[in-house]
């Protein structure tokens, strides 16, 4: 991207300083919203822009904001800065280097749903970012951009940061709300959905950090401008967190619809040590593995096109795996992660991730037989459709997809130990 929309600090030095941010148009969108737009108008602009949630679910943002009933008060906005999906590190860069754009987006969202308090829930490991944001919030309060009667209007807004304590499940929106309320971080039953009954049972909008960072440019430049980027059904830009066996891992802000090939080879510098690419995980650990053939590499990265590959875009944490990786080993890694992070509330995930991890351990340690591979398939399948939240459901994706697409990797591991196997 020549001119970044989200990672603007790469174009403008010191953008994390309030005076620099304001010099480059910062908080004009917020001022515009509060002083000249109705909350409903702001929601409409975001709806029209086609912005979709960047945290993984891809739900239309404007539509989510419109769900808050105007009969129950107060409303809340919560920024999900839990960023715990393995391979995701985009929100971190935004918050560290372009914090005011994120905060401005949060503030516009709050105005749009008429919330007077907004919370930023950060994963516990981001305590330094939390401190940083507290500082920035204090600066905004001093500058009269947060507090009472903003711009002389009747609108008041305060922002608060809240640290998590190291649980991936607290990135799940209802578990996040539980944690924010001071309770055990376990997901809630839905319905009711947070937009109707969220924080303290009040209407709450929960948005990802990157989603919110898109909002100021959209309000400033208009929905049509935003639609110029990306595709028809997936408009806009996305920060892709590229990692794995590439020469240049990192965050890349690109229009949605950019192909895997472009990301991995043009921006990522191709596979390290000149090896062959084998598989792609497009949604971090919560991915159905994509066989990295020509067709896959030419597939545009957006919310629709990946369905054809049996995968989804998720938070666009693109992990690239080369030919040295045994997919059974990979499945063990992801399953071990999900077992560790499972909240334990529902039976299939609590017991299933534990069981799958043990089977995969045996497979990876060379202590398994082919029947164990069948068993793994069965256990993963019987978790499907039964879990209380997406953690359990997604934990089986790497397992089932690797069994389906890379079965040879498993069979290699269960061959008789005396045989020399090519790893």
């Amino acid at each position: 991207m020549s001119q970044h929309i989200l990672l603007r600090h790469r174009d403008i030095p010191n953008l994390d300083r309030l005076e620099v941010y304001r010099k480059h148009g910062g908080f004009e969108a917020f001022r515009k919203a509060v002083t000249s737009l109705q909350p409903a108008e702001v929601i409409q602009i975001v709806k029209d822009s086609g912005l979709r949630g960047r945290g993984g679910a891809g739900f239309p943002t404007g539509l989510k904001w419109s769900f808050c009933p105007n009969t129950i008060w107060p409303h809340y906005v919560v920024a999900n800065a839990d960023e715990s999906e393995p391979g995701t590190f985009k929100d971190r860069e935004i918050m560290e280097s372009n914090p005011f754009q994120f905060l401005e987006g949060l503030m516009i969202a709050a105005f749009a749903i008429q919330a007077n308090a907004a919370y930023i829930y950060l994963r516990g490991e981001y305590w330094q970012i939390g401190k940083l944001l507290d500082q920035k919030i204090a600066e905004l309060e001093a500058a009269g951009l947060l507090g009472d009667h903003l711009f002389g209007s009747s609108y008041s807004l305060r922002l608060y940061t809240h640290m998590g304590a190291g649980a991936y499940i607290c990135g799940e929106e209802t578990a996040l709300l539980e944690s924010l309320e001071g309770k055990l971080g376990q997901p809630r039953l839905r319905p009711p959905f947070p937009a109707v009954a969220g924080l303290y049972a009040r209407p709450t909008v929960i948005n990802n950090v990157e989603t919110l960072a898109n909002v100021p440019p959209i309000i400033q430049n208009g929905a049509a401008w935003y639609r110029d980027f990306g595709t028809d059904k997936s408009p806009g830009v996305k920060v892709f967190s590229l990692s794995g066996h590439v020469n240049r891992p990192g965050n890349y802000e690109l229009p949605l619809g950019t192909t895997f090939r472009e990301l991995i080879y043009n921006y990522g510098g191709g596979i390290r040590e000149g090896r062959n690419i084998k598989a792609i995980m497009s949604a971090g650990a919560s991915s159905s593995l994509i066989i990295a053939n020509e067709k896959a590499l030419d597939t545009p990265m957006d919310y629709e096109s990946l369905v054809g590959l049996g995968a989804s875009l998720g938070s666009a944490s693109v992990i690239v795996l080369d030919e040295t990786v045994n997919m059974a080993w990979l499945a063990h890694k992801t399953t071990h992660f999900f077992k560790h992070e499972s909240c334990g509330k529902c039976t299939p995930c609590r017991e299933g991730t534990y069981w799958m991890t043990h089977i995969l351990e045996r497979i990876v340690d060379g202590k398994a037989v082919e029947a164990d591979v069948e068993l793994l398939q069965a256990v993963a399948s019987q978790m499907q459709g039964k879990c209380l939240c997406a953690l359990g459901e997604f934990s089986i994706l790497p397992v089932l997809s690797s069994l389906q697409k890379f079965r040879a990797d498993y069979l290699q591991k269960v061959a008789a130990p005396s045989l020399e196997v090519e790893s």
């Binding site: 039953l189 334990g344 299939p348 609590r350 068993l375 209380l388």
Partner: protein, 830 residues
Amino acid sequence: MTKLVTLTIDDQQVSVPAGTLVVDAAKQIGNDIPVFCYHPKMEPVGMCRMCLVEIGRPMVDRGTGEVLLDENGKPRIQFGPKLETACTTPVSEGMVVRTQTQVVADARREVLEFILTSHPLDCPICDKGGECPLQNLTMGYGPGQSRFLYDDKIHLAKHVPLGELIYLDRERCIQCARCVRFQDVIADDPVIGFYNRGRRLEIVSFSEPGFDSIFSGNTTDICPVGALTSADFRFGARPWELKQSASICTHCPVGCNLTFNTRREARAGGNPVIKRVMPRQNEQVNEIWICDKGRFAYHYTESPQRLTHPLVRRGEGFEEISWEDAFRLAAEKIGASQRLLTLAGGRLSNEDLFNLRELTLAKNGQTVLYSDMAGGDLTASFGLAPGSNFGSMGKETAILVVACDLHEEAPLWWLRIKAAAQRGARLIVLNPRPTRLDKFAAHSLRYAYGEESAALSAFLPAADGPETYRAAVADFQSAENVVILYGSEGIGLTQSQRLAHTAAAVLAGRGKAGQVNNGLVAVWQRANDQGAWDAGFRPLEDLPAALRKAEVALIAAADPAGDDPMLAQALEETGFVIVQELFMSETARRADLVLPVQAFTEREGTFTSGERRVQRFYPALPPRLQTRADFVVTAGIAKALGLDLEGRAASLVFLRLAKTLPAYAGLTYTQLAEVTPQYPIIGRSDLYYGGTAYDNHQGLGVQLPLLPAAQPVVAAGAQTAAPTAAGEGEILLAPVTRLYDRGSTVLPSTLLHQRLAGKSIRLNPQTAAGFGLNAGQTVRLSRDGWSVEARVELDEQLPLGVGLAVRSTGIPLASAAAVRLDRLTVASAD
């Protein structure tokens, strides 16, 4: 009128009120959808995933809202892409539920397989075996074999005391959260909770002492596996070896329905012993719960200290005599006397009390109730009308609780009234200090100890009460129904008399006497005080004087000498003392004739609860050879006197009672044994659903009708009773009740010893400082010739200037009184 919704479950149509959950709708037509985490008395959580079923809903045109029809004109049904949990899904019109399809059967088998991967192979040694929902549901829906490698099984701690009363086995726990939710939502004691996550998710106790809740035992009933067991019963017996007997708890006036489980044992010489106490379902009294005192404090009935033979005084000691000789001697003394005083305690059954009454009246004696509370005559006229039920009270009812720490005095009423308040009932608490009920009260009002009647007078019609009471009074006066409960917080007989009259006058002022969910409830100190009042027993202001004057004192189920040295002294001067007792109490020790009686577990009879419900209890154990039921003893004495009293069977005594006491007219044992279907459906075959409490086959009891008031009731008068003044070196002490006291029915249960109230006085820190006292110091209290040592405990929530002493801990205080206080210097003190 709640709207009805019609849905189809496995091709059977059923109509249920809107809001009903699919799992409950199915239960009503006998379709038992298996559950673990769901419990009909709690909100669903959808955690265990056992109740997954296929749910389809009529397809609706998004634009027009019209239901789409198929070629047969029937609504097109869209089944969801995934199975849904029946416990979290409310019914909707036209819903189609399928529970018997292959995909549902697979889901149930798979969920069970998951649960069993972590579950230990403990059935042979697990208490729950035989009454275990996991066993039952595995047999019904589970896999026959496990594919899980034994070596992969997780190993966790197996004998974790959450407190000394409840043990947790972490391997057996299936993380259903029933225990945590019960404690949080129903008991309001969130002292246990989850810790850690994933497969390591475990229950921990947060309180000190551990699992600090008087309702903790209930979690062992609703735990669907053998994870939670009680220290009293664990490793005790197999459920299928146990016999069940219906009974009623005798510790407080709620009258919780119990089931005693007994088993014959070699260590008892082949006789049955009580293995455990379980709740029995009575949705109008205790639902399916009991408190831990009722669950664990039964050991006194089997104590080796029980009296075993009639005894007559010989010099300083006793000699055994036969029952005939005992009856003859008693009759001789009673027959020769002009002044017979019968002192009865509220633990006696209605039959015991009736026979004592008949005997005493025939000899022109006095029927005295051993109690510090008044008002049983008023509750007979102003009590809860038949049909009243705490469980049906909501926002149209005002519940006023005065001078009572309900959590300690009548736990299940506290539980039910709290629930009523949460349903919208206007709860007004009038008490000198904060109690556990304040949290749920719409109004929490204070008054000084001694001013309870004046405070309550603010609720009389056209009364001019304090400003702070105005809102509460308005709420009370505008409520459709009104209930008043009065206890004995800091008061004795005289004050109780004033309070009861004021309460009755307040109720009379509302003019609702006799209407359902209206009335006066006395939180008696003993289980059958109401029955005693109905039988004509009355407490006496000056009991010592009456005892001194009595030529013969017939004392049953009371230990005045043990409670108060003044009464012990008075007994010295009584002519001939006959005592009917379970133990060689202090009173029995001073008696001339000691007659050993049966515990309520060894015979049958009836008790009348504080809600005026007469309930039957049945024998759980055979009686001991030389003991007799109290009513049999009285009949024996009467026979020797030439009087005809029924002594053959309790049911026959009851028939006479019903002919004599107007409120009991027409009642029979048969009526009392009637049951009607109760909801939720629980019991042995439904224990996966509601827990292991027993269903009720032996009787729900009958609420007595109200009698017309003898005379118009007059309030005590708004003027404050002159507060007892404390002089120099004295402190005003007020008696209060604690659930776990040191009474003779509690002490033999050693497993409760860590929780019993100590012999102590509680003071506000400022008051203590005024006496130069710190927490933990020992003081000497003395008054009226008694003197005891007690420890000092500090409590910031107490008002200034008054100390609290717990009843039945050894401090003889029948009412608020000025007591001399001396600091005791301890050698090691600084």
